[in-house]
Symmetry: C2
Subunit: 231 residues, 2 copies
């Protein structure tokens, strides 16, 4: 143990991170993935750690593991871009692309969610949304708190749609937005405008007006363009 011992994460996760970044950057030659032996030598960790690191990459569909065969790389089109791990490990350019694609996906999905939610909306949920809205209005000078409330607001609406697949999507959406926040210290003045748009969504839901909820959500997302994405 001659190295500095920082323990921000578990050891296998750190190793997996290094490997993932290397693969994502195209720094791996053939279709051959990293073998246990290579990891042992390069990182000086035990086999258990090396194996767990590989399992992590496999769970992201970045590699394929099978007994007897060497680890092979899998096509990047099938990686699990919904995972917070992979988001962290992508090189900046790819990360920006993915965040833009994620936002485009939100524009497809969330208006539809809002429409369904308008149908299923209950008094209790509306109350909770109202509370969130008030809190947002009061947190416009605190971007971190505002983001959390924002995420909760959208998630609460999604829950009303009673669709676990959509729930999962919104759950992943949390990581993208936190990542996008991380790379670009965001629009400080846009928050009041955001609250207005959220209120418009809320009022459409109160009225149980599917079309209006859908349209309000679409307008909100189109305005809240993915931050810090040049080109």
């Amino acid at each position: 143990m001659d190295t500095v011992e920082v323990k921000l994460q578990t050891l296998p996760k750190q190793v997996a991170g290094v490997l993932a970044r290397r693969i994502a950057s195209g720094g791996v030659a053939g279709g051959q993935g990293p073998s246990e032996q290579q990891i042992l030598q390069e990182f000086g960790v035990s086999r258990a750690v090396a194996r767990e690191a590989l399992k992590i990459l496999a769970s992201l569909d970045m590699i394929e593991i099978a007994q007897g065969r060497r680890v092979v790389l899998r096509p990047a089109e099938e990686w699990d871009y919904l995972s917070p791990l992979l988001i962290d490990w992508l090189p900046p350019e790819q990360m920006r692309e993915i965040l833009a694609e994620a936002h485009a996906t939100r524009i497809i999905i969330e208006p539809a969610i809002a429409a369904i939610a308008a149908k299923h909306m209950t008094k209790e949920k509306l109350e909770r949304l109202g509370t969130l809205l008030a809190a947002m209005s009061a947190s416009e000078d605190n971007p971190d708190a505002y983001l959390k409330l924002d995420l909760d607001f959208h998630m609460e609406i999604c829950r009303a749609a009673q669709n676990r697949i959509l729930d999962r999507f919104m759950y992943s959406s949390r990581w993208w937005q936190m990542a996008s926040r991380r790379i670009s210290n965001q629009m400080p003045h846009a928050l009041p405008s955001a609250t207005e748009m959220h209120r418009a969504i809320y009022e459409a839901l109160v009225a149980r007006d599917e079309k209006r909820a859908e349209e309000a959500m679409r307008r909100h997302l189109k305005k809240t363009t993915a931050v810090g994405l040049p080109r």
Copy 2:
């Protein structure tokens, strides 16, 4: 080793499957998850296997593992329902619900994909789609082959949208449809009708008509209702 040695899957996966089914069925009392010790005793496996089984459950967001603390169960709303593993391990009723929700999600997403694809469609992609369509037409007496072509057809369209998040969604969709095929030996007569609808989508794409592609896809999915889902 006094038990029969069947090796359909790796050992940790089998253990994880038993645990996951137990958790999903509500057969676990408090918020306490299974500990390594409990697994050792119950299944008679090594610690390495027990640990990997837990890691699998953690990768599905079913449990939370942290050093020193006991394993705790996570809320079912946040499980990774897009994973083929979890789909297999859900009890039948939940599985049916999820499949219905997955289909509802397809109806939201895929028409939008078709519209975007119509914009970006290239000659090469159209050719490949045409080939797939011909193959489908010729495989209407072979449901298994037909399903594979069907999946490829939808995936090919999705690829044209150039959105990795949507790609990932379609990739997961594969597992749902294979699962839904598994639980209900499906409509043998519906295949010719399906080919017609696929052709309608194809022709809209050829014409690069966004609205028509969107509508054709929607009609297709609304007709191809999730199979074997009563009520």
